[in-house]
Structure formats: structure tokens, C-alpha cells
Amino acid sequence: MLFALALLGICFAFAFPVLWLILTSLRPESGVYYVHRGSEFTLGNFAEVLREERMVEAFVNSALIATLATFFSLLVTVSSGYMLSRFRGPASRTWFGTIYVFRCVPYISWVLPLYFVAQSWGIYDTYIGLLLPHIAVHICFFSWLMKGFFDGIDPSMEHAALIDGCTRWGAFLRVALPSALPAISALAVLCWLFTWNEFLFALILTGNRVPVITVVMAQFVTEMGLRWNLMAATAVMALLPAFLLALFGQKYVIRGLRI
């Protein structure tokens, strides 16, 4: 009994802020200041947010960048993780040391100067200028995770394939890769979520031409701080894709979180 109550309390504590946000998003402008009283509810806030072109554009941009970043990020980190897992020796050790050190470097230390690097390369405030850093940022962590996943897969099948005359690429692509698919799915879900939720990169590397949802929301707070019903509606819509992904990919998310 006590245990059940504790569980209920824990669930409530972790879900409450989100529930409160959802409730706020359903209140009309007049009711938003007393969310806990009154009983008028409306979907008008969502409609009003979606009427703003910039909002819709931001949602589309965020989804596009998250999807592309996930694809390319996996492309480069799966192979790098495979190398770390299957080969020993100085090359492997050096690469591992490098990604370990760069994992520790705070984002601001490279994104801040990337601002003027991007400008001199002419990719400031463009899709590509936002996409490439988003791919680069996960290299360290995901190579590390991927190494761990490959370590858990027995390499004897690949050895057998090599002896049967398979090339190294064949052994990697046709033997190792299929057995790593669950792990790759886990990383894909994580990568999509991280990119969708990321804020600092877009804040520094984009201006007005590539709005993304997190930046638009943060601007919203300071510019229209009093229109909490619209704010909440936007936030709920930004949460929705992440929640759906997590709900359906729960198994993979959990696996991905296990370092």
C-alpha cells in the first residue's frame, strides 16, 4: 500500500510539469492566469500558433534537420565505432583518446568560434551550416556507444565470413551491421531527440533565415512573455513528436541510454 502510494507520488512529480503545460495550452486567453480554476477549454491556441508562418517553418526546419542529422550521424559513427571495437593498436588507441577528449570540450568552446568560421565559409544561417555541426557533435559520444555495442557482438561470424572469401567491407556491411541493427535503432532515436531538442547551435549559427523550434520558443518567452496560453501550445506541439518517438521506440531509447 505504502509502496503504491510512493509510486503514485513519484509518477505525479515527474509528470506534473508536463501535465500542467498541457492544461495551460488548453485554456483560453482569459482563463490562462487562473489555470487551476474555471472550466473553459479551447483548442484555439494551437490554431493561432499554426497560423503563424514562422512557427510552421520552424517546425518543418527542426524536423528536417533532425532527420538528416540522424541519417548522416549514424553513417559516420557506426563505422567509426566498428573500427574502435574490432581493431587494437596505436591507430585505434589514438582515435579513442581523441574522441574521449573532444567529448569533454564544452559546446560553447567550439560553437562560439564556429560562428565566424561559418561566416567566412559562407554557411552561416543556412541549412548546411546548421546540419554539419549537428552531425559533428555526436561523433564522439556515438562512436563510443557504438564501440560498446559492437563489443557485445561476437566477431567470430565475421572471421568465418572472411575465411569464406568475403572482403572486409562485406564482413562489416553484410555480417556485423545486421546484427547491430537494434543498437543502431537505439542511436537513431537518441540522435533524433538530441537534435530536435538542441538549442545553442541554432542560437549561434542561424539568424532569421533558418528558424528552428527551440530558438523560436525561447524568443517567444522574452518577446511575448505574457501570452502563456500560446507559449504552452507551442511547447506542447514541440513535445509531441519527441513523445511519440519515445513511446513507440521505448525499448530502443532505454537501450541507447545505457551508456
Binding site: F3, L7, I10, C11, F14, P17, V18, W20, L21, L75, V76, S79, S80, F87, A91, S92, W95, R103, C104, V105, P106, Y107, I108, S109, W110, L112, P113, L114, F116, L132, I135, V137, I139, C140, S143, R168, W169, F172, L193, W196, N197, F199, I204, T214, M217, A218, W228, M231, A232, A235, L239, A242, F243, L245, A246, Q250, V253, I254, L257, I259
Partner: protein, 297 residues
Amino acid sequence: MAPALRPMFGEQQRFMLFLITPAALLLLLFQVVPIVIGANASFRDWALYNPKKIWVGLDHYRAVIADPAFLEVVLPNTFVFMAVSVMGALILGLALALLLNRPFRGQKLVQTVLLVPLMVAPVIAAIMMRWMFNDQFGIVNAVLEGLGVEGQPWLVERWSAFGVILLTDIWLWTPWFTLLLLAGLQSLPKEPFEAAAIDGTTVWRVFRHLTLPMLRPVIVVCVVIRAIDAFRTFDIVWTLTGGGPGRATELFSLYAYVHAFLNLDLGRGSAAAIIGGVIILVVGVALYRLVDRVAKA
């Protein structure tokens, strides 16, 4: 017939090189190059509105290190934030993991609920908390007033604002600790616990002398990863308080950002970013060594 040209690397080396080249190239272009260029900028007069790019040596570094705002506010804030948010989330997360480490109905549901904060973007978490702790219309003050306690202007005072920031961060990260530690608990061998149960050992002693030592490696990895990430926290502080009131809740990332993009001094901002990077590398290595030793002891 001329002998075929000997390849510079063996077949295996070429394969290894191919596997890491795309990743290494991206890392070089988007992290190494910016850091080098940022280091160069940190030695120059690089105002955004008028980048003269004159060499000024260590002036920016001196300015940052001598800045009372950096020494007396930003650095202590960053370390207090790191310590409290990691310890808070670790202790809460461990307690929850211990509580949940038993079969019960609805386990799946609790797991799903615990995943919720992990899906929430830090920006959105900060917006939610900002709304809940709003001084006039927030639910927190409404509840307090219902209980007969006077509502607080939470985000206007330094320490209460800092408290809200910490609360947001702990809310975001406790579930991560819980899920990882729960996985760790479930993979522990059963026999020692059964033996302890037969001997009638108290719960506390089982925890202190069995669970904790066996769980230590997982805890160590979690703490190191989280501590390094906590050091660079930006989103929640930026959205909750913008570093305010005044500059009282600024963390290191905000300090570098404010100098580069609000005061338009990229030179000084870059210097701050590099100082922060060096600090975390030193702290990271020290932390790793320390916990590594504790883990082996």
C-alpha cells in the same frame, strides 16, 4: 615488367582508415578548426562591429581572470551548479532505482513516466518551470497562498532563481540516473543478497556494504558523464533567467556567450570559452582519476 607499386598501407590499415575518415574529417572541420581559430581570436582585438584583429596578447585572458563577475559569480555558480545538480540527481535517482528494483504491476507504466523528462527539451523544461514559478499567476505561488504562505517572486532573487534552475536540472536528469542504476541493480548477482537475508543483515548494512560497492562502477561512469555535461549547461539558464537577476545566475557558457554576442566582443568571449574548456579538461581528468581510485579501493 615493372613491379606493381607497393601500397603505402596494408589492406587492413586502409580499411581502418576508411572507417574513421568521414568522422575524423567532420571532427577536424567543425571542432578542431573552430577551436584553433577561436584561440587565435582570443589573442586579438576582435569586436564584432569593428574587427581590427590587432594582436593584443594575453589581454583578454587577463581581463576574464581579473573580472570580479567571473571570479566571484560565474565560477562559483558553475561549480555549485555542477556539484548540486549531479549529487541531487544521483541521490534521488539511486533512491528511486532502489525503490523500483522489485517486480510489481505497472512497472512498464512507471518506466514510461520516468522517460518523460528525458524527452523534454531543456528549453521547454525551462519554459514550464518559468510558468509554474511565475510570481503572479504561477501554480507554485497559488498553492503556497492556498496554504496561507506568502508567494515569492522566485526568479527575482539570486538564490531562489538559482534554486529553480537546480530544480529544473534535477527534474530533467534524475530519471536518467534511475534508469541506468536500475539496469545496474538488475544485473548484480543474487547470491550475496540471499546470504545477507539469511544472516538477517539490516537493510542499511546491505545497502552500505553490498549494493553500493557493487554498483560503484556504474555510479562512477554516470557521475563523470553528467558532471562534464553539467559544466556546459546553457539552455535552461538562458531560458529561465537569462543569467539574471542582473548577472547573478550566469554560468560559464552564458558568460562566454554574453561577452561574444551581447557585448559584441568575440575576442573576450573566445578567451572565456577557452578558459572554460581548459578548466573542464583539468576537472574532467581529475574527476576521472579520483573516481577511478575510489572504484578500485
